[in-house]
């Protein structure tokens, strides 16, 4: 049994113009201690996928269906109270927006300590001591002073470090990091990633890492899941994906990326631009979701939706024309 098993996850939003199928039948799993990267263009449902695992999607307008089994328990079936015991404790999350994710009117120490008091029953003094320890761990200088400060006194990079400290305070088994570096400038990005890589080894938590940055994927992740228009279109171990991308969408994303192992400079490892428009999520899509932008699309593609298929060992893709290794059959 994997630590996290997501099965046929569907997240739909009721909107004035129709139902937005932000996530439409996505399945994946994460092993203990493993790092899974989720990549895909803006709006493909990465954040919604990650937030629905902690049931942080506002309902309504959202509606979550499917299964999210964590250590065998389906989180979607838990009571609110049971769910709260898991949030911030067994599973924590780092958000895309470091500048606005901390509460501006509470001290940093309080915001870190809060989780510890809640889940580990520490008293105020012990929680503050642990908060100082956590700030040291995430590499914030003068932690004794910083715990007493407010978020507006910290830079963006520091705030994201604080978010990481909050997320790791209770030694979670699973850390969901939703583009933890996107909003930061390049040098700070590299520092935060170094920190995350370092912590990954020290803390041993499984990580779901959402990112636009394929350089990061190459260095941090073991497996990669590629999402497009609310669906999973390809998944493979990281080396396999980089050397043998099977789905035309993945091939497009990788188009401008230098060879695997290139440095983490952050300049040229961004996803490539693919011409064309993402299909509207509020209308039913016939055939392959990528057909509108795919250079090799045929009438077959436009009529029948390709199923996710094993194309090589541990490598699945949803494309009628993706190459399939003989051994995988």
């Amino acid at each position: 049994m994997a630590l996290l098993e997501v099965e046929n996850l569907q997240v739909h939003f009721r909107t004035p113009v129709g139902v937005n199928r932000a996530v439409d039948g996505v399945s994946f799993h994460v092993e203990e201690g493993e790092t899974l990267a989720i990549v895909g263009e803006s709006g493909c449902g990465k954040s919604v996928t990650s937030m629905s695992m902690l049931r942080l999607i506002p309902e309504p307008p959202g509606k979550i269906a499917g299964q999210v089994r964590f250590a065998g328990r389906d989180l979607l079936k838990l009571s609110d109270k049971e769910m709260r015991a898991i949030r911030g404790n067994d599973i924590s999350m780092i958000f895309q927006e470091p500048m606005t994710s901390l509460n501006p009117v509470l001290t940093v120490g309080r915001q870190i300590g809060e989780t510890l008091r809640l889940h580990q029953g520490l008293d105020a003094a012990a929680a503050e001591a642990k908060a100082v320890e956590m700030l040291t761990l995430v590499g914030i200088p003068a932690p004794e002073r910083r715990v007493k400060e407010y978020p507006h006194q910290l830079s963006g990079g520091m705030r994201q470090r604080v978010m990481i400290a909050i997320a790791l305070a209770c030694n979670p088994k699973l850390l969901i990091a939703d583009e933890p570096t996107t909003a930061l400038d390049v040098t700070i990005q590299a520092q935060i990633l170094d920190l995350m890589r370092d912590l990954k080894h020290r803390v041993g938590a499984a990580i779901v890492l959402i990112t636009h940055d394929l350089g990061v994927v190459a260095e941090v992740a073991e497996r990669v899941m590629v999402m497009y228009a609310g669906r999973k279109v390809e998944e493979a171990p990281v080396r396999e994906l980089f050397s043998n991308p099977r789905h035309p969408y993945t091939q497009g994303l990788l188009g401008a990326v230098p060879k695997l192992g290139s440095s983490l400079s952050g300049e040229s490892t961004r996803l490539a631009e693919i011409p064309g428009q993402v299909p509207s999520l509020t209308k039913p899509i016939q055939g392959c979701v990528f057909a509108g932008r795919c250079a090799i699309a045929t009438d077959v593609c436009r009529t029948w939706a390709p199923a996710l298929e094993m194309k090589a060992p541990r490598h699945v893709a949803a494309c009628h024309y993706a190459l399939k290794e003989a051994v995988a059959a």
């Binding site: 937030m51 902690l54 942080l56 609110d80 709260r84 015991a85 898991i86 949030r87 911030g88 404790n89 924590s92 999350m93 958000f95 927006e97 606005t100 994710s101 901390l102 509460n103 501006p104 009117v105 509470l106 809060e114 989780t115 809640l118 889940h119 407010y150 507006h152 978010m163 909050i166």
Partner: protein, 313 residues
């Protein structure tokens, strides 16, 4: 912080000086000759002239204002034209019921309205939200005296739960004091509750959409901590501001409420003084109310710095 508080306290001095100038001018902008007014209808021109002399009304305005201000600073508000008693004494006798009414209304209104607004924002769009907002519109549009008479009829005359009218000093016991004030405070509080609840809801709605609220949930915090600690503290500044501004509503409403419930407070004193054109009393009461208003808003300004660490002056 301390420097700010000190500066803020000092800044109330010019405000109070302006208020003083305004209050003092009341006597001069009112139609008619102040001396004739004070002398009354039966006075002869000679009497009026004598009064003008004795009150110094023939001297330059600024000199008179200076003297008046000097006396006022020494807690001497003059004597009533009608009763010949010192104004401070007359106010002193009436101040307790009014302050009691206002304080009780304030506490009660905050305790009721803030949770109402928070819950309405949390349950936005549901029947809970709609009922609360309907009440708010109702509380806002029905005049104080209508609510007052309605409450008095139902809870005092019909059900006999509370006295119909009157006031019992707090020194006679907390129970009687409160039971006399419940209905007046309810009537006076309605508008105030409606106002604060609406602002709380609006402010909370904005805050609940913020990323840090999602972070708070992601930590596993319960609904109550998320709403009343993480969100409300961020939503507090507009709420506190409107509480301060609303003090003016309370002062105006207190005058009406006191006459509905026959409470012998400053409201009644004010009304009587206006009817009798007892200017020193009017001046004294207006000055006192202005002072309360300025003081409350000073406290609120200081409170801001505790609520929001980003506020620095």
């Amino acid at each position: 912080m301390l420097g700010y508080i000190l500066r803020r306290i000092l800044s109330t001095i010019p405000v109070m000086a302006m208020v003083g100038l305004f209050v003092f001018s009341l006597l001069f902008v009112a139609p008619g000759d102040p001396a004739a007014l004070i002398a009354g209808d039966q006075a002869s021109p000679a009497d009026i002239e004598r009064i003008r002399e004795s009150l110094g009304l023939n001297r330059p305005f600024l000199v008179q204002f200076g003297e008046w201000a000097w006396r006022t600073l020494h807690a001497d508000l003059g004597t009533s034209i009608f009763t010949s008693l010192p104004v401070t004494q007359m106010i002193g006798q009436r101040v307790e019921p009014t302050l009691s009414l206002m304080a009780l209304t304030l506490v009660f209104a905050i305790v009721v309205s803030v949770p109402m607004g928070v819950v309405a924002a949390w349950k936005v769009g549901t029947w809970v939200d709609r009922s609360i907002m309907t009440f708010a519109v109702f509380g806002f549009s029905v005049p104080v005296f209508v609510i007052g008479y309605m409450l008095a009829y139902v809870f005092a005359l019909r059900l006999d739960w509370f006295p119909v009218q009157g006031y019992t000093p707090i020194t006679d016991g907390l129970g009687p004091w409160i039971s006399n004030l419940v209905l007046p405070a309810l009537s006076l509080g309605c508008v105030y509750i409606a106002l604060i609840a609406r602002i709380t809801r609006a402010s909370m709605l904005e805050v609940l959409a913020q990323d840090y609220v999602r972070t708070a949930k992601a930590k596993g915090l319960g609904q109550r901590s998320v709403l009343f600690l993480h969100a409300l503290k961020n939503a507090a500044v507009p709420i506190v501001t409107v509480i301060g501004i609303g003090i003016a509503l309370l002062i105006g409403g207190a005058v009406v409420t006191e006459s509905v419930f026959a409470i012998p407070g400053l409201g009644r004193l004010t009304v009587d003084a206006i009817l009798r054109r007892d200017y020193p009393v009017i001046q004294g009461v207006v000055l006192l109310f202005s002072f309360i208003y300025v003081l409350v808003n000073l406290l609120i300004d200081i409170l801001y710095t505790f609520l929001d660490p980003r506020i620095r002056y």
